[in-house]
């Protein structure tokens, strides 16, 4: 297991009133993504627990691209990874953001 944390500044605040959302499953080659609102936090913070060790550089790049796509602040992203490829990680993150920002 490896634990990684990232913070990205400069995003616009996520829509007020968004509720926490979870997508994905913890199964081999897959992952679970939880997005929670943190009102007032000027950053997007990300915490990753991953079954695979030694891929910090790749996680950093995947997360930087994720932040660049959405540029949201005031959210906390928690990832529980069971060895997903970067493509699956990016897809789940985008699905989670879509759920999180969907108007209800």
């Amino acid at each position: 297991m490896e634990h990684l944390e990232y913070r990205f500044d400069g995003g616009r605040p996520a829509t007020a009133g968004s509720a926490a959302r979870i997508v994905g499953v913890v199964a081999s080659g897959n992952l679970e993504v939880l997005i929670e609102p943190v009102p007032g936090d000027p950053a997007c913070s990300i915490a990753i627990d991953t079954a695979a060790k030694g891929f910090g550089e790749i996680w950093q790049a995947v997360m930087a691209d994720f932040f660049a796509r959405h540029r949201l602040a005031g959210i906390r992203v928690s990832i529980n990874d069971a060895g997903a490829t970067p493509a699956i990680v990016a897809l789940r993150l985008d699905q989670a953001i879509e759920e999180f920002t969907r108007k209800r």
Binding site: A52, I58, T85, P86, A87, I88, L91, D94
Partner: protein, 558 residues
């Protein structure tokens, strides 16, 4: 003067040798040989009398069906009598195919593919127990059967024989015609193991005068269901890549004649034809004619009217009754059952198809790709015949001409087409193994095994497109090696190769359409769900076939 008398040259030594061998067999087997029919318990004796030291022997070990009973018998011959054989066979699939080298019965090998035996083959080659002449493509090896590697003895497999020695192969005709023809017409001898001896065959696939001996094997020959892919195992990323392939390559080029490689990536494309491709209005415009094994995952597209014809290299277990019921699509005999032919289908795939699309394990910065990894000599099979531009081709089709127009060949070149050769890979395979590498393992394997050539499956100079979940790189539009390198890096995602891309150059390539990402194709990644698959399980395929497809037990979960 005592001038030496010139002996008149004997012109039929091979035919004389054939008679000699037949006489030896007849003398040893006695009543265990009736006409051409040999009793099963006499088969080792048959091989001992039939085969001479140094003979070239072809064991029909091919992609799917295996002459397993004869292969096992060959491992049991007396090494004092049968040794130093030169094995010339397309596929080393069974342990027995290598046991003959371990036991000293054979010493030289020319082949195409070794699949499950690749690790052991590398060890035997490394220890000097066998020397490899060359690793061929199927067509190359079959070609050499008629030039300089003609078998003296061929051990083949068929479904049934009559008492005259006529053979019925059923749908798994595969390599048998080419092996039997090369052997029989150069005074060699063909031995066939059959599942049953019958009075009357449904049809004759190999005529009796090409066949020396027939033996009923105690158990039916083994057939590997090599081309069955369970739709349940197709991932969302594979669905996404299939959408990109259809919208970004099949549609703009109008690919009507094609071959698909083996694997889940192309299975996903097959299962998206009746859904996604249909929604794009592509029925009747793409994927009409195929050189393809009878993939169960193509059933929904056939039923939806996408597919007009399929010629097959081999058969696929469970597809027999479905094919029998669709004779307008498949090549079937007057008896109703399908007939495959690997040599003809390889020729069709090389010359008559506009596109090959398949997966691989490693791609380098020139677009060369390889499935060779250290410690495994896996060989090629047919992919290099499909996945190469047919430079002898002279007939034009819209897809071929469209690709040819994009290929930069200088201003003075006459108009010419180009085969679309597409490599489709996820940037990372399982266990985070990157599909893109600076240097192929093939180079190190070539050095360690003393090969004249690195075992490259598809040369970069033949590849037109590389497709990953990150985008499609059109190598035809690249103006030089630098652009090819950056186009490949640009779709290599988060691999080390991808992270080292020059972002400015890659954006420029994207502006020029050399790289096209999913969003450039108007594809929303979030739409890539398994709901798009026309079948999501083996059971769905059975249902789509109207119950005609009968999958092997191991694929049944119900």
């Amino acid at each position: 003067m005592n001038a030496p008398m010139a002996l008149p040259r004997v012109w039929n030594q091979r035919a004389q040798g054939r008679v000699r061998r037949l006489e030896r067999v007849s003398a040893r087997l006695g009543p265990r040989l009736a006409g051409k029919v040999v009793e099963a318990d006499a088969v080792v004796a048959l091989l001992e009398e039939l085969i001479e030291p140094g003979d070239r022997v072809c064991i029909e070990g091919n992609n799917q069906k295996q002459a397993d009973f004869l292969a096992r018998a060959l491992t049991s011959v007396d090494v004092a009598r049968v040794h130093d054989l030169h094995i010339v066979q397309s596929v080393l699939a069974l342990p027995e195919h290598l046991d003959v080298f371990e036991r000293g019965i054979a010493s030289r090998l020319d082949f195409s593919f070794s699949g499950p035996q690749s690790g052991r083959l590398a060890k035997l080659a490394g220890s000097g127990r066998l020397s490899i002449g060359a690793i061929h493509t199927y067509l190359e090896l079959f070609g050499r059967y008629f030039i300089d590697l003609t078998p003296d003895v061929a051990l083949v497999a068929a479904q049934a024989a009559d008492r005259h020695g006529n053979l019925y192969t059923g749908p798994n005709t595969e390599d048998t015609p080419v092996i039997a023809e090369a052997t029989a017409f150069k005074s060699g001898l063909v031995v066939a193991q059959v599942n049953e001896l019958v009075d009357e065959l449904p049809r004759i696939d190999i005529p009796s005068d090409w066949v020396g001996f027939v033996v009923r094997s105690p158990a039916p020959h083994y057939i590997e269901p090599l081309f069955t892919r369970d739709p349940a195992k197709i991932s969302e990323i594979q669905v996404l890549m299939a959408m990109m392939a259809i919208k970004g390559i099949y549609a703009p080029y109008g690919v009507e004649r094609l071959n698909h490689g083996i694997g889940f990536d192309t299975a996903a494309i097959e299962l998206l034809l009746p859904t996604y491709a249909e929604s794009l209005g592509l029925r009747g415009k793409i994927c009409r004619h195929w050189a393809l094994n009878p993939h169960p995952t193509l059933i929904p597209a056939i039923e939806a009217g996408f597919v007009e014809s399929i010629h097959s290299f081999g058969s696929e277990l469970g597809m027999e009754e479905y094919m029998r019921a669709r004779p307008d699509v498949f090549f079937t005999g007057p008896d109703g059952s399908m007939r495959s032919n690997r040599a003809f289908c390889q020729t069709a795939g090389h010359y008559a198809c506009d596109m090959f699309i398949g997966s691989t394990l490693q791609i380098d910065l020139c677009g060369n790709s390889s499935t060779a990894t250290l410690g495994r000599i896996a060989g090629f099979g047919g992919a290099p015949n499909m996945g190469s531009d047919a430079r002898g081709r002279r007939h034009a089709t819209p897809a071929w001409l469209a690709a040819g127009r994009e290929a930069h060949r200088g201003d003075r070149a006459p108009p010419r087409g180009r085969k679309l050769v597409v490599q489709m890979v996820e940037t990372f395979r399982e266990h985070m193994a990157p599909a893109f590498v600076e240097r192929l393992d093939a180079w190190e394997l070539a050095e360690s095994a003393n090969m004249a050539l690195p075992p490259i499956m598809i040369y970069g100079s033949d590849v037109t497109h590389i497709l990953t979940e990150e985008g499609i790189a059109n190598l035809l539009l690249c103006r030089d090696d630098e652009e090819i390198e950056q186009a490949i890096r640009g779709i290599a995602g988060y691999t080390a190769v991808g992270l080292a891309r020059d972002r400015r150059v890659v954006e420029n390539l994207r502006d020029r359409g050399v790289i096209r990402r999913a969003e450039d194709l108007g594809i929303d990644k979030r739409d890539a769900t398994r709901d798009l698959l026309a079948a999501r399980s083996i059971k769905d395929l059975v249902r789509a076939s109207g119950g005609l497809y009968q999958p092997p037990k191991r694929f049944r979960s119900w």
